[in-house]
């Protein structure tokens, strides 16, 4: 079977994308696999200006998961476009730029910068980062604010598909999903990390300098799967599912509940060639299960 998927204007040779913040700017992984073989490369969240990020420690291990509070350290969109993007195989594999900003206007400015870049395959608007004081959850937990961001980004993004990345830290994910769809989002991705905390009883301090962090990894897969299912049952636009995926089986689970593609995050830390090997594993499992095309398998969960 052809593993290719189409998410509106975004065509991927297979449904496997990297998750923002876990795959650097892509170039860190060239020793471990061929970037050309991935469905898409989603790079670390970029802002208009470079960001230093949060103080250390920034990461902590938890049962079947991890907390991070990187605080969106990044080199800034300009430097990315000059130094990184030209070295990525964007002709073979779409490069998705994950956007972070503190104000709706900044998101719009980022979209304007990226909207005309031939090497940029899509924009992913991160309105769900729990690790920054401003600009993360204030959009992701508030439908009106989210709508405003999405509308402004859409206006500036030209032909680029706009992916909106949702936060799981809400009472009802369907509400915000419906809102961003109506605001013109082309694709929804979810979930970002779940707010969490770890503390050290000896030092009596939080394990992260930021106190709170975002939980990711296999631990959160059941939460992600439910929310992806709910969003897929709510919106008509394509959905990218992520959260705790580590195996081809996990990938099919997300597609079974309705996702068109998936992203691999924390699993990349278990082995840097993980995302590359998953492409082959997925091909094998699809054959073994005699899945004949995505259209019939996707969302075919019987409830």
């Amino acid at each position: 079977m052809d593993l290719g998927v189409t998410l509106g204007a975004l065509r991927l040779k297979n449904p496997i994308m990297t998750a923002s913040g876990t795959f650097g700017y892509g170039l860190e992984f060239t020793s471990y696999g061929r970037l050309e073989e991935l469905g898409a490369i989603v790079v670390k969240g970029l802002s208009l200006q470079p960001r230093k990020g949060n103080p250390m420690p920034r990461i902590a291990e938890t049962p079947c998961g991890m907390l991070n509070a990187i605080g969106l350290q990044n080199i800034g969109v300009e430097k990315f476009l000059q130094e990184k993007l030209p070295r990525l195989p964007w002709k073979e594999t779409p490069v998705v730029v994950n956007l972070y900003a503190q104000k709706a206007e900044e998101f719009a400015d980022l979209a304007a910068v990226l909207g005309s870049e031939p090497g940029v395959g899509a924009l992913e608007v991160n309105i769900s980062c729990p690790n920054v004081r401003q600009g993360g959850l204030q959009f992701g937990q508030n439908p009106d604010a989210a709508v405003r961001v999405v509308e402004m980004v859409k206006k500036n993004a030209g032909q680029k598909p706009v992916i909106v990345k949702l936060s799981p830290n809400v009472a009802d994910i369907k509400v915000i999903a419906g809102a961003v769809e109506s605001a013109g989002a082309d694709i929804i991705s979810l979930i970002n990390t779940i707010g969490g905390m770890a503390v050290d009883i000896r030092t009596r301090k939080p394990c992260l300098a930021n106190a709170f962090g975002g939980l990711s990894g296999p631990a959160i897969k059941p939460v992600a799967l439910k929310m992806v299912y709910e969003v897929c049952s709510t919106v008509k636009i394509p959905v990218i599912g992520l959260g705790g995926i580590t195996s081809a089986r996990d990938i099919l689970e997300f597609i079974l509940v309705g996702a068109s593609a998936v992203q691999i995050g924390t699993a990349t830390f278990t082995r840097p060639d993980k995302v590359f090997t998953l492409v082959n594993e997925l091909r094998e499992l699809v054959t073994q299960l005699e899945i004949e095309d995505w259209a019939r398998f996707r969302g075919s969960l019987e409830t």
Binding site: M56, I59, T246, T270, P272
Partner: protein, 272 residues
């Protein structure tokens, strides 16, 4: 000393042997040797296949030594991951990637002062054994457990070596005095390389800056990816940036890095 084939790769080597020294907490892990060469101070990320989903992260270890027969790591059991590693069986496989990081760089013709604290001895075993002029190496080793726990005796004969046991608070104070004197005396005569727990490195850094010594220290920050992607292992620098320890380091010029006020990472660090 310069290796040419240092392209990292991700392998699945088999464990050849596990041996213990002094106590079950000090483990020598021998694996099938990878095809790459390495520079002392470089490290590998290791994650046993049987870990499944927990623990999620691999664990970083300095390359202790590589021969044509095997790659060897020297590991102290300090927590869940190292404890699980210490109970692995020969024949089981690991996910392993490396060699990672920059490693130590030095001119083999220039005298070296090596300062190692506890498990910080690991990268120096291979370094000293491969050094063309071991007589030019001065080696000061501070340790808390019995010396039989560490591969100190493996250092080549010609290395000029001293070890100091630190049991009491008093021992630590006198060790710091020795450190200070050695650094000051050596400053200007060659390069200083240091590896060990952060409190030790802080002291080394302080005296090095004070005496203007050419000192390079290897940091042991917590790591998730090991390849520069997650930004979880960064260290603050005097230029006000955060740099990934796994790719820009783990070896930094002593006066280049800043130890953050926040000493959470250190507090629970048992190994010296």
């Amino acid at each position: 000393m310069l290796e040419t084939n240092i392209k990292p790769s991700c392998l699945k080597p088999e464990i050849q042997a596990i041996t213990y020294a002094g106590s079950g907490d000090f483990v020598h892990l021998y694996m099938q040797p990878p095809a790459w060469g390495y520079r002392p101070g470089q490290f590998v990320m290791v994650r046993p296949g049987e870990w499944g989903n927990d623990p999620v992260w691999p664990r970083p270890f300095s390359i202790c030594e590589k021969t044509s027969d095997s790659l060897r790591l020297f590991i102290q059991v300090v927590g869940r991951g190292t404890s699980l590693i210490s109970r692995l069986q020969p024949g089981s496989t690991l996910d392993m990637w490396g060699p990672l990081g920059n490693g130590f760089s030095f001119d083999p013709d220039v005298p070296l002062l090596i300062l190692a604290g506890g498990m910080g001895i690991a990268p120096f075993i291979g370094l000293c054994k491969r050094h063309p002029h071991p007589g030019r190496i001065n080696f000061l080793f501070g340790h808390r457990m019995g010396i039989e726990c560490y591969p100190f005796a493996e250092l080549p004969q010609k290395v000029n070596k001293t070890h100091l046991n630190q049991q009491t608070a008093g021992d630590i104070v006198s060790f710091q005095k020795v450190l200070e004197k050695r650094i000051r005396d050596f400053s200007g005569r060659g390069r200083i390389l240091a590896c060990g727990p952060s409190p030790f490195l802080k002291v080394v850094r302080k005296y090095s800056i004070e005496s203007g010594a050419d000192t390079w220290i290897s940091l042991e920050n917590r790591m998730a990816c090991g390849v520069g992607a997650c930004l979880g292992c960064v260290t603050g620098t005097t230029t006000g940036e955060y740099l990934q320890t796994c790719t820009h380091g783990p070896v930094f010029r002593a006066d280049e890095v800043v130890f953050e006020e926040d000493d959470r990472l250190l507090s629970a660090k048992p190994h010296l």
